[in-house]
Subunit: 331 residues, 2 copies
C-alpha cells in the first residue's frame, strides 16, 4: 500500500508528519509514503532521520491550507496546496489512500472535490471508531452534516454496515440509532422517522435505539446519528475523559502515600491513558466518497500520524470503497 500524506496539516506541521512517516516505514505499516509539501523544508527535516530512503518520496506542493482558511474556497483557490495535491495523488492512483491532520472541513472539501461521491450516496459522513469495554463501535456522522434527514441516516447505516463487514469481518453487523430512550416512540422528529425507516430495511440488522449511557459498552457495531449530535457526543467523550484524568492526577499529588500508591498502580493508569488517547486510534474516516481519506487529529504527534497511516492502509486493503459502491448500486 502507498500512502499520500499531507505533511502540512497538523498544528505542529511538518514535524509530526515527517517523524510519523519515518516510523510508519520502519514499522512496515505500508510500502511507501508520498510526503506532500514544501520540498526544502521536508528534505531538511527528513535528513534528521535514518530510514530506507527509497520508501519515502517527497512530492512538492507550495501552498498550505491553514486552520483559519475557509474550507471550500481555500480548496478551490489553493490547488497547489499540500492537501489538494495529496488528494490528487490518490485520485490518480499513485497512492492507495490519503492522510491529513488538517482542518476537517478543508479535508472533506478537498476529498469531495477530488474523488467525488459514490453513486447514490447523498451525503458523505465522518466516521470514527471509539474505545469501548467490548468490541469496537463505529459512530457516524460525527460532524460532516449538521442538519440531516432520515434518509441520510439510513445511508450512514449502510456505509457503517459495509465497513463493519469488511474491516472487522462481522457477518451481520448490529446497527443502532443514537437516541434518548429505548422505545421507538422516543426522540425528536428525526430520530422517530429514522427508527421506522431502519426497521423496515431487510438489509440492515437494526437493533434499536442506544442511549449515551451505553455508547461505550461496545455491544453494537455501528451507531448512526446526525453530525451535530455526533460531534457533541464525540467531544463530550473527550472532555469527560480529560476531566477525569485531570481530577485523578490532582488528587494523587495531594500526599506522599497516594503518590506511592499511584506509582505502584502505574500499569493500570498507563493502560487507561493508552485506551483513551486519540493518538492510538487511526483518526476519523470519510465515508461515501470514491476514495479513502483518513483525518488525523489536529494535535497529532508522530504516533498518531503513524497510526493514521496504518489505519488507511488497512482500509484500502479491505476494499471498503468497492464494497460500498456495490451496496449503493442496488439502492
Amino acid at each position: 500500500m502507498i500512502a499520500a500524506l499531507d505533511a502540512f496539516g497538523s498544528d505542529n506541521a511538518p514535524l509530526p508528519e515527517v517523524e510519523g512517516a519515518v516510523q510508519a516505514i520502519k514499522e512496515n505499516v505500508c510500502e511507501k509514503i508520498l510526503l506532500v509539501g514544501k520540498r526544502e523544508v521536508l528534505e531538511k527535516e527528513l535528513k534528521k532521520f535514518d530510514y530506507p530512503a527509497d520508501r519515502i518520496e517527497i512530492v512538492h506542493a507550495q501552498d498550505v491550507i491553514s486552520m483559519d482558511d475557509k474550507a471550500s474556497t481555500s480548496v478551490k483557490k489553493k490547488k497547489d496546496s499540500s492537501l489538494v495535491t495529496a488528494s490528487r495523488l490518490h485520485k490518480e492512483g499513485l497512492a492507495d489512500f490519503m492522510v491529513s491532520a488538517g482542518n476537517t472541513g478543508a479535508v472533506m472539501a478537498s476529498s469531495l472535490f477530488t474523488y467525488g461521491r459514490i453513486k447514490n450516496v447523498m451525503r458523505p459522513a465522518i466516521a470514527m471508531v471509539l474505545p469501548t469495554l467490548n468490541r469496537p463501535t463505529l459512530f457516524l456522522d460525527v460532524g460532516a452534516n449538521v442538519d440531516c434527514t432520515p434518509e441520510h441516516l439510513v445511508q450512514f447505516a449502510i456505509l457503517g454496515r459495509v465497513y463493519s463487514r469488511f474491516f472487522y469481518n462481522r457477518e451481520d453487523p448490529e446497527v443502532a440509532l443514537l437516541n434518548i430512550g429505548e422505545e421507538s416512540s422516543k426522540g425528536n422528529e428525526l430520530a422517530k422517522k429514522t427508527y421506522s425507516m431502519l426497521q423496515e430495511r431487510n438489509d440492515i440488522n437494526f437493533v434499536g435505539n442506544i442511549e449515551g449511557k451505553q455508547l461505550l459498552d461496545g455491544n453494537v457495531d455501528v451507531v448512526v446519528c446526525d453530525g451535530f449530535v455526533g460531534n457533541v457526543m464525540l467531544k463530550t467523550v473527550e472532555g469527560v475523559a480529560m476531566m477525569i484524568m485531570k481530577m485523578l492526577k490532582e488528587q494523587i499529588q495531594k500526599d506522599w502515600l497516594t503518590k506511592i500508591g499511584a506509582f505502584l498502580a502505574m500499569p493500570a493508569f498507563k493502560y487507561l491513558k493508552t485506551k483513551l488517547d486519540h493518538s492510538e486510534y487511526g483518526g476519523a474516516l470519510l465515508f461515501g466518497l470514491n476514495g479513502n481519506t483518513i483525518i488525523a487529529h489536529g494535535s497529532s504527534n508522530s504516533t498518531a500520524i503513524m497510526n493514521a497511516i496504518k489505519f488507511g492502509s488497512k482500509i484500502a486493503e479491505s476494499g471498503f470503497i468497492e464494497h460500498a459502491v456495490e451496496s449503493f448500486m442496488v439502492e
Copy 2:
C-alpha cells in the same frame, strides 16, 4: 422549609425515600417533610428509625405511577397517586417544594398540570448542574423538549441566568450555547439562529459557543441546548465516567502490586467517585413552572434523596420562582 416527598417514585421505593427523609431531618436540611404514599407501608418503614416524630408527617395517597405508565395519561387518571398528591401539597402552599425520583415524564406532567407555567414561558425545561473542574455549570434543557426553536433556547438562557444569580449569587452569569465549534457560523440551523438571537440580547451575558470538550471545565455558568442534544450529552457524560471507572477497576485487579498501589491511592479514587456520583448532586430541576420540583435519579439511594431535599430547600429559599416570574414579566 417544608418538603413534599413522593415516597413511591424510585426504583426501590419506598425504602430510599423513607431513609432519605429521616437522614434529611436528622441533618436539618429542612424543617419538616410530608411523606406521601400508602400510609400503612410508610408507617411500618418509618418505625425502623429513630427521629423527631413531629417533623415527618405521612400524607396518604393510594395510587402509584410506575416507570412504565404513560406520563400524561397516568397523571390525569391517577389523581390519588403519591406523585400528584405531592405536587398538590406544594401547589396548595403546604410544602415549599416537591421531590420525586419517579418517571421523569410523569413528574414533568404532574408539575405542569398542577402548578402551570410561569407567564410568558413557552416551554418548561429540565436543568441539571454537572460536576466540573471549576465553578458549577447549569445545563438546560437536558430532556424535556426534543424539538426546540431558537426562542425556546433564549428563554432557557433567561431561566438559567435567574438561577445562577439567585442560587449562586453570580452577578452577571456567563451563558454559553452548546455547539460544534467556536465561530458564530458553526452548527445546525437551530444553533446558528440561537447564536444571533442571544447576541442581540442586552439582558444576557452571552459568551458564545461551547464545545463538548470544554463542557466540564466549569468556566461558564449556564449552557443552553435543545433537549435531545442535552440528554445525549448528559447520558454520555455518565456513560464515559462509568466506563473509565470500570476499566480502571479491572486493570487494578490484575496483579497484587497494582492492588496495593490502588489501596494506598484510595483517597484519590474516593474523591473521584464522590465527585462523579449522581447521588451527591441534588438531581434535576424543572424550570419555567410556578413551583419548585426536584427530580431525583430513579436509582437513588437514601443519600441521593436527602441531597435532593437539601437542593429543593435551597432552591425554595433562593426565591427562584419569584425572580423568574419577574424576569418574564418584562418579556
